[in-house]
Amino acid sequence: MFYREAGQFKTSYGRDMAVFPIAQDRIAIGLIVAIAFLAVPFMATEYFLSSIMVPTLILALAAIGLNILVGYCGQVSLGSGAFMAIGAYAAYNFAIRVPELPLLVTILLGGVVSAMVGIAFGIPSLRIKGFYLAVATLAAQFFFDWLFLRVGWFTNYTPSGSVNAPQLNVFGWIVNTPTEKYLFVLGVVCVLAVLAKNLVRGHVGRQWMAIRDMDIAAEIIGIRPMYAKLTAFAVSSFFVGVAGSLWAFVHLGSWEPLAFNIDRSFQLLFAVIIGGLGSIAGCFMGAAFMWILPIFLDIALPPLGELVGWKMDKATVSHFGFMIFGALIVFFLIVEPHGLARLWSIMKEKLRLWPFPY
């Protein structure tokens, strides 16, 4: 009824290629961003901001990075946790060794270092594909886990292996409280998400998609697989690296290599697949699902158990949480293998016709 595009004429190529061609979408996204910036910081509690919003946003950023590689370029990676770690430790080393650098530059440099390592570990993708590649990317995961754990230089020889982030000083603005952290992360994520959206719509993004759909055919129509695949690895690792440094600096504050182990990689891959392969908006939904569901289960299970007269201890709750989590993932994959983003677009299609079915 209210979601109609009748009367909205596209009179130029620019209008036709807009990110949100329908006026209602533009209004809706504008509202969401306005609420996120202006309303949420004042309404939400500190707990909600610091343990739900901030990690979800950072995970969404990492998921965008992984989605560029897996969803847009079709190269499955199980090593995204390692690239988060590279971003975090690179930023840490820049911060303590070159303290004059502003924080934003440090975080972006973390992403750049991660991008360079990404290119190196992307080289095998020129030869190997599919699951062989997926397992090969695990090499990155295990190698960097070990490197940051065992080689003291990266952690500045701290005896425990756990390192602390420097004070967050963004051009004079000291980011301290949960609200400030939330606003800082939100700003970075918004800018990078717009960047990602425009990259995947552009020249290089279309090359990635051609490679994903069929690499040999793409090569025949003149796309250089080496350039396309390696740029995908570089851009993807950059996003994941920036997310990693944000995760370490803003969310964790002090961390050890375990924060970026293989579980993180799987979590990101799940976020991408449940959110929707090849969709930027899906990354936010997937990340929210992956982060909030386990928290919800932890809180909701013990009272539910007591309802049926079953006192659960902590281990049982976590095992039960595992079970429900696994079952839900299988359920989601069966019901909608294309993820939440597809559900969302189906809903929009229905809304355009509503209340008449035809």
Partner: protein
């Protein structure tokens, strides 16, 4: 030299155990194209079921009754299927259409009552092992019916993620049901060290008897699987399905039944792996990480090759032990500073990665041919 051989042999024997886990992967990948990450969780589940039935520390009477009923029902249904054949079709209204339900309930009741009579004490090995197998068969049935069948024709990555979901589920389920501590498994495999070649080297080469028996068990299992694949009717059907799903289905091979069989066989392989690893380390949650150790073995050997899984396991096992011992020495020689140890953690993956650069399909994998 003796020390080097000792490291090498120790590595080779560990490698055999890696191959055991990799075997389960290969079986399922060949038959259904599913990259089954849940193999490690299946090892854990099989191990927990066995150790709790054999030497119960966590479970009570009702667990025994449940497992007894389940095992009897599984056995009953399998016997019924063997007697009647898979293609039996009863007319509507014919009472025989309910025969599977009747058999399952009847056998289940019988098994439950027998277990109840036996009480809450451990079962002997000849009963505990088949019961653990029955549990794994039930898992195979559930996975085939509720996960694989609804997801048929999906892309490989989706199926892979589904098996990750299954991994979470099995991890949680088996630990809720059978406990989550470390349970030592002692089924009579000797753990004593022994010395080989004492005449050749001074002091001989130290090996653990348990590793040797693990190697022997793995050998027997592989030989058994080879006979099963080459000589039996089901084995031929499995190979046909592995070759070409559509063609196999069009000559009348029931795909769903084959998938069920192959997941059951993978469950049996998981049980064997659990027995050998469990005797070595105890049955515990860390057994699921074996799946991660089996992955480089797989890409080295090729996803579709049983001999590849064996040779890959041996190479990785030996390579990583030798690297673990000699990496600090070699880096000290080359660069002047000894690099830290713990190389075991990533060596297998980097070895497999470098290998793939030269031979993308693994050692024994089928040549990858692509057409546009």
């Amino acid at each position: 030299m003796a020390f080097f051989l000792e490291v090498l042999i120790g590595g080779l024997l560990t490698g055999v155990l890696y191959s055991l886990v990799a075997l389960g992967f290969v079986l399922i990948f060949k038959a259904s194209g599913v990259f089954n990450f849940a193999q490690g969780a299946m090892v854990l589940m099989a191990g927990l079921a066995l150790v709790q039935l054999f030497e119960p520390t966590y479970i009570g009477l009702w667990h025994f009754v449940g497992v007894g009923a389940l095992s009897a029902a599984v056995v009953g249904l399998l016997v019924l299927r063997t007697v009647r054949g898979g293609t039996f079709a009863a007319a509507k209204g014919d009472w025989r259409i309910h025969l599977p339900k009747i058999v399952a309930v009847g056998a289940g009741l019988l098994g439950g009552v027998l277990a109840l009579a036996g009480g809450a004490k451990g079962w002997p090995l000849w009963l505990a092992i088949p019961a653990a197998i029955a549990v794994m068969v039930a898992v195979a049935w559930v996975v085939e019916r509720w996960v694989l069948r609804p997801l048929v024709n999906q892309e490989g990555i989706i199926l892979f993620m589904a098996t990750l979901g299954v991994t979470f589920f099995i991890d949680g389920f088996s630990q809720t049901l059978f406990g989550s501590n470390v349970y030592p498994l002692n089924i009579g495999l000797s753990k004593d060290p022994m010395f080989l070649l004492e005449g050749v080297f001074e002091g001989g080469i130290l090996v653990n008897k348990l590793d040797i028996s693990g190697g022997v068990i793995a050998g027997v299992l592989v030989a058994g699987l080879a006979v099963f694949f080459q000589k039996t009717r089901i084995g031929r059907a499995l190979r046909a399905v592995a070759d070409d799903h559509a063609a196999a289905q069009s000559v009348g091979i029931p795909l769903n039944w084959i998938w069920f069989i192959v997941w059951s066989v993978a469950g049996v392989v998981a049980l064997v792996a659990a027995i050998v690893w469990g005797s070595k380390l105890g049955i515990q949650f860390s057994l699921t990480f074996l799946a991660l150790k089996a992955l480089p073995v797989l890409i080295l050997g090729g996803f579709t090759s049983v001999p590849g899984a064996i040779v890959g396991g041996l190479l990785i096992g030996a390579g990583e032990k030798v690297a673990e011992v000699y990496f600090p020495v070699v880096t000290k020689f080359l660069t002047g500073t000894a690099m830290p140890g713990g190389v075991e953690y990533w060596f297998a993956y980097v070895l497999a990665l470098l290998f793939l650069l030269f031979r993308p399909q693994g050692l024994f994998g089928e040549r990858i041919i692509e057409r546009v």
